[in-house]
């Protein structure tokens, strides 16, 4: 059954809504495992040999695999089913959120009276957010239906539970928890007193940093007020102290050298390349000398086979993430170097998900060098997270 959220902002659902969400999660599992498996097999057995004969070479990159696959029936069915499953994720929680808005609004109002949420009306929501419905989520992160509105935060929280099929744990924090634990174990020399999460949305991967490093002061920033209000109320309900602020990652308002760790999850692939460059510079600027910048992301195309690149790039073409492929086509080390980091202090990480694999596999991985393969970052059998890092 689709997991229930752990905090007090959790909305009630009817028997049918619950069944609908369970079905969508099952449908996604079926498409991502069975239908995706069929599509890969069709590529290897039929499409690749045929195309190689016709073109005189194998498809060399993600775009060429896309061209080769586009006319096949398996691609059409896979794609049509994935787009529908994505739309159905949001539709399966829409009525639940609609019904619960008044209550969410009261809880947010209450939460706004305490704690340290800082909204800044001078922050302009960039067009890469305001003009898109990323992940096909109607209203995106930023739409406001009235003053102090947090609807889109609730929509995102309840929808992503269905989307992730329970893979992230009941607090949706597996990525933040896995990577913060990884940082604690892999960088024993790093004092973690202040942590910044850039592009934090509802703070689901921010809070685990405060839990892993209980003495650290943890900040989360985002451009969109509705998700920040929700993040703030959600963190209070879970009893975790985090300072949420409205800020653009390309223009941080923190002083130089003010954080030990600057972190993000699934954030950079939503930014235009110009903003990525600027945000990396800002990450470096606010990091104190010796501090660690670490970003969880989908693995870059250069680390993947042409087919696996195509498989991940699908979201860029069809899931309203127009900047995702451009980002994944970059050399992250080069981007970090351009932002002023030392190339010798750049690292890539492949970390087994704590929620999926448990403590033992995680501990074993600490002593090994992770390898990017077709399963890295995929929501299927054996979930591992990819991250890149650099130290100032």
């Amino acid at each position: 059954m689709t997991q229930e959220l752990i905090h007090d902002l959790k909305l009630d659902r009817t028997l049918d809504e619950s069944a609908r969400q369970d079905f969508v999660a099952a449908l996604r599992g079926f498409v991502l495992h069975d239908i995706a498996g069929d599509m890969r097999a069709t590529y290897e057995r039929r499409v690749k040999p045929e195309i190689t004969r016709a073109w005189g070479h194998e498809p060399r990159d993600s775009a060429e695999v896309h061209r080769a696959m586009r006319e096949t029936l398996c691609f059409k069915f896979y794609s049509a089913m994935r787009v529908n499953a994505q739309e159905m994720v949001w539709d399966s929680v829409r009525d639940q959120v609609q019904r619960g808005r008044a209550r969410i609004s009261e809880q947010v109002q209450h939460a706004l009276r305490q704690g340290s949420l800082v909204l800044d009306p001078s922050v302009e929501v960039p067009r890469s957010v305001s003009s898109l419905d990323v992940h096909l989520m109607p209203g995106n992160y930023d739409r406001e239906f009235g003053p102090d509105d947090a609807t889109q935060g609730a929509f995102y929280d309840h929808g992503t539970v269905v989307f992730y099929m329970g893979l992230m744990g009941r607090d949706q924090g597996d990525i933040g928890r896995t990577i913060s634990r990884w940082v604690r174990a892999r960088y024993p020399d790093l004092p973690v007193r202040r942590v910044l999460d850039v592009g934090c949305t509802i703070g689901h991967n921010t809070l685990p940093w405060a839990q892993t490093f209980p003495d650290a002061e943890v900040h989360g920033i985002d451009v969109a007020p509705p998700v920040l209000r929700y993040a703030h109320a959600r963190a209070q309900s879970m009893g975790v102290a985090v300072s949420f602020r409205q800020m653009d990652a390309t223009q941080l308002k923190y002083p130089d050298d003010s954080f030990d760790v600057v972190w993000s999850s699934m954030f950079f692939h939503e930014l235009p390349l110009k903003s990525i460059r600027q945000a990396l510079k800002e990450c470096r600027r606010v990091l104190r000398p010796g501090g660690l910048m670490i970003h969880m992301e989908l693995p870059p195309n250069r680390a993947l086979s042409p087919y696996d690149g195509f498989y991940l790039d699908w979201d860029s073409w069809y899931n309203c993430e127009p900047f995702y492929k451009t980002f994944r086509d970059q050399d992250e080390r080069q981007l970090c170097v351009e932002a002023g980091f030392d190339p010798e202090r750049f690292e890539q990480h492949v970390v087994p998900s704590l929620n999926w694999f448990g403590e033992e596999v995680f501990q074993r991985a600490l002593d090994s060098v992770g390898k990017i393969d077709k399963d890295t970052g995929r929501f299927d059998q054996g979930l591992s997270w990819y991250a890149f890092s650099a130290r100032k």
Partner: protein, 122 residues
Amino acid sequence: MTESDTPLPRHARGRRPHFFDDPAVDQMMSIVLEVIQELSVLYDRVDAMQRLLDQKGVLPSSELENYRPDAAVESQRQRRREEYLQRVFRVVRRESAVFSTAEAEEHVRGLEASLSDASNTA
């Protein structure tokens, strides 16, 4: 109308991709998937009901066959069917919901501007 009565949008902005030669096939695919979903929802509910009724010794399955709804039940069922059709045929209604407004045109302009930003800097 209070703020929380404003209907949440059902459709994501932007062009919806189609994969089959005839876009009608893509739309049929959506409808079919929705129907499959609702069938699964219904199955879960009926299953729960039958098990509970059986467990409590309330209703022998033979009695189900002879049930006929009264007028009040029938009107509730009618309302449910109407909501059901809104859901099953959502894709057919999408075009008018998304692309008939000035906001949608503004959106497309904004999107094109963002995309050209992206390609200029790539």
